[in-house]
Symmetry: C2
Subunit: 188 residues, 2 copies
């Protein structure tokens, strides 16, 4: 894909950067590169299929998923399994078949500014955000590795809340399955 | 506040419902009521102060916070402490002084459709979404209770990633503080 054509979720690269600024509060490289990763994962999925998402870190990446897919934290289609790895998986919630995309450290030397940022070789004040974003725009896809994975959907499916009870201690509503008092009161 | 004037985060009530549909995938009552809760909390905070957010459930509410405040999962200013309680806290990240807003079950009988939905007295197919949203618009604030709370900011502050290492097993980058291999590999 040439630089001119690059688009992320139907936005131009520059539009996506602006959307990230508004939602995330800054044009953080992790959310911008995350957008390239989400696009790459989508390209490998059959079109029109409903998918769920897993992020293997809670830093930055979940916001790219939330901006570019139907999956959010609040609707339960995005699950964060915080391994501290910069990787996302989009998978068919029926079959568990999915695509995992991660930033491949072996490929990083071709993008020295991204490498310096991601591997913390430069302090924040020494990083050049414009250069990092330029490298993401020009070479983002080339730094990724893609693999087919099988996810056990039951592992990541959010439990239905089920019947609601009133906690005798705090007098607030909570999922009755949690026991005789709510988790907040029982953890005190 | 009269029904006509009702606005959420600078949007009209109806605009907010549309924004929720786009982001969350449906006009879920939890995200709409969550918007009223975020507004209520903001009204009690000093203007212009930077605040962090805590949601006491991962269902619906986090999306209201992400849409209406600078706090997202990916930027670390939103923390989910999943007690299963329908409550949010916005707090000054310097002092820990904050405002907690929760849906007060004692006040629910004045909004029978919301009560039937929230307390699961009606099955989903029997609920009337239009009536629920009308009650949220007309009476949302009246169903809430607000309290001043003190939060220990260090409890909710996200750790900096710190130095990055390459996991000898999966060959991916991970926070070096996690040990000799990454958490994904050590959990297998």
């Amino acid at each position: 894909m040439s630089t001119e054509e690059k688009s992320i979720g139907g936005y131009s690269f520059e539009e996506y950067v602006e959307i990230v600024k508004t939602f995330h509060g800054s044009s953080a490289p992790g959310v911008i590169l995350g957008g390239v990763m989400v696009e790459e994962a989508k390209r490998h999925l059959p079109e029109g299929k409903l998918f769920d998402a897993i992020c293997e870190t809670r830093v930055c990446l979940p916001d790219a998923v939330q901006l570019l897919t139907p999956c959010t934290i609040g609707n339960g289609w995005l699950y964060i399994e915080d391994f501290g790895r910069f990787a996302i998986t989009l998978y068919d919630k029926e079959t568990g078949e999915g695509i995992r995309v991660h930033l491949d450290v072996d490929k990083l030397p071709q993008a020295p500014e991204i490498e310096a940022w991601f591997m913390k070789k430069k302090k924040k004040g020494e990083q050049n955000l414009d250069k990092i974003l330029k490298e993401i725009k020009e070479k983002g896809e080339k730094l990724l590795s893609v693999s087919r994975v099988h996810v056990r959907p039951d592992r990541y499916r959010r439990l239905k809340t089920g019947p609601v009870a009133i906690c005798p201690q705090c007098k607030e509503a909570y999922p009755a399955r949690d026991g005789v008092i709510c988790r907040a009161c029982s953890s005190q």
